[in-house]
Symmetry: C2
Subunit: 234 residues, 2 copies
Amino acid sequence: MLSDVMEDYLKGIYDLQREGGAPVETSLIAGSLDVTAPTVTSMMEKLEERGLVAREKYEGVELTDEGETVAVEIIRHHRLLEAFLVDHLDYEWTEVHEEADVLEHHISEEFEERIAERLGDPTVDPHGDPIPEATLEPPTADETRPLGEFAVGDCVVVARVRDRDEDELEYLAEAGIVPGRRLVIEEKAPIGMLTVSHGDGQQNLPDEVAGTIRAQTVDVDTEEQSDARHVTEL
Amino acid sequence: MLSDVMEDYLKGIYDLQREGGAPVETSLIAGSLDVTAPTVTSMMEKLEERGLVAREKYEGVELTDEGETVAVEIIRHHRLLEAFLVDHLDYEWTEVHEEADVLEHHISEEFEERIAERLGDPTVDPHGDPIPEATLEPPTADETRPLGEFAVGDCVVVARVRDRDEDELEYLAEAGIVPGRRLVIEEKAPIGMLTVSHGDGQQNLPDEVAGTIRAQTVDVDTEEQSDARHVTEL
DNA sequence: TTTATGAATTAGACTCGTCTAAACTCTCAC
DNA sequence: GTGAGAGTTTAGACGAGTCTAATTCATAAA
Ligand SMILES: [Mn+2]
Ligand SMILES: [Mn+2]
Ligand SMILES: [Mn+2]
Ligand SMILES: [Mn+2]
C-alpha cells in the first residue's frame, strides 16, 4: 500500500512538525531525509494525492490526520523494536536505532503486538522517547524541555536523549547522561556551552547537544517512574 | 548492495536447482516468483552481470558459488526467523512463513547472530527444514525422501513439511503429520493418493501433497534427535 | 529435410524514487 | 515599489523492476 520510502517521509514530517510547527518547508524535509528539494516536491505531490498531507505551494506541508496516524504507527514500530532489541536480544542502547529504522517498515501488525506484549506494553523506549499507544492516538505534548532552556541552579532529571548518533550516545552514556539521571545546571557559558553536574562530577555540553537532551524539573511524583536502567549499569 | 527482489530470485533459483537440477529455465523461475518470462530474462541479465548466475541463452541459468552463498544466507535468515518467531514470540508454526519471507531481507548480520545465539544455534526450523551454518557452506544433500517414494509397508519418520501454505500446514498439524512423527505407508492408490497411518489413525494424502512431505526410514540413531515438539502439542 | 509448436528473448512502455538544470515565486531591503 | 536573493517548483533524465506484444530460437513431428 505505502512504500517504506513514503513512510519515512511521513515520519520525518511528523518530527519536523513537532519541533518547528506546521507548515513544514520543502528544504527542511530535504535536509532531514538527505534528498534534494525537487525530490521532496514530487513526493509531496504524491502524498497530497493520497490524502496524507495538506500542501500549500511554496509554503510547505502539514500532515492530515491520516498522515499523522501513519507516522505514529511507524514511530510505535520503531520504539517498540528498539526496546525489544535491548531487552530481549542484548543490544546496546547505542546501536538499536539503525536496525529499528529498517525493520519499522517491514514488521506485521502481528509482530508489533507480540513484541509489545512480550515487553509488557512499555511506555518509553531505551532513549526515553515515549512509545505511542496501540490506538495510534497522537501523544499529547510532553512536559519535558531541552536542557538549554533551564536556568542555572535548576535541578532536573533527564527524560530523553537523541538516538540518531551512535558515537554521541556512547559518549553520553559514558558521561552518565542517561534517562533517569539527575543533573544540576551549573553554568551557561556565552560560547555556546552548558555545564551540568551529577554525583560523579561535571560535564560540559555544546548547546547543539544540550538542545537535544530533554529533561524535567525534579519532582517527587515523577522521580519514581523514571527509567533508571542505564544508571545502574555505570 | 543487493535488492530484496534480487535476493528472492537467487533464493528461488536455489530451490529450483535443488529440486530439478541445473540449468534452471526461465519459465520455472517465472512461475516460482509469479512474474512474466521477460521479467525473468532481464533480471537474469543483471544477475549474470554481477556474477551471481551463469547463463546460457535459451537454456537457463545456474547459480555461481557467489550466488549460491547469497541464497544460502537468505535461507539461513528465513529459517532462523521462523524458529525465533515460534520459540520466542508465540507464533504458530503455520503462520511464520510470510513474516520470515519479508524480514529475511531486512535483518542485519548482528540480528542474525543474536537470534541464532538466543535459540542455541538450532539446526532445523519449525517445519523440519535444515538451517544452514553461519559459515554459509552449502548444506550437503539430505537423506530424506518424499513420502511418495517409499514403498507400501515402510515405517518412516516425518522430517520436513512444506511451509508455504498456511491452510495446508494447519490441516497437516491437525492430522498429526508433523516433523518427528512416525508413519506407516499403508497404500498407494492408483488415483494419485497415498494412505499413511500412525497411532491416532489413518490419513489420506493427494500425491501432490505427499510429494512435499519428506521422511526417513525409521532408524534408532536418528529417532532420538527428531523434533517432537509438535507431536506433544496434539 | 522441412516445418510447426512452445519457449525465450527483444522491443517498447510504464511507475517509482531519485537527480541536475532551468524557471519561477516570495519576501525583504533599499 | 522594485529588485535581489533565497527557496520552490518545473522540466527532463535515469535505473530498477515490471508488463504486453512482437520476434527469434530450439526441437520434435512429419
Ligand atoms: Mn525508516
Ligand atoms: Mn529511540
Ligand atoms: Mn523473501
Ligand atoms: Mn520453514
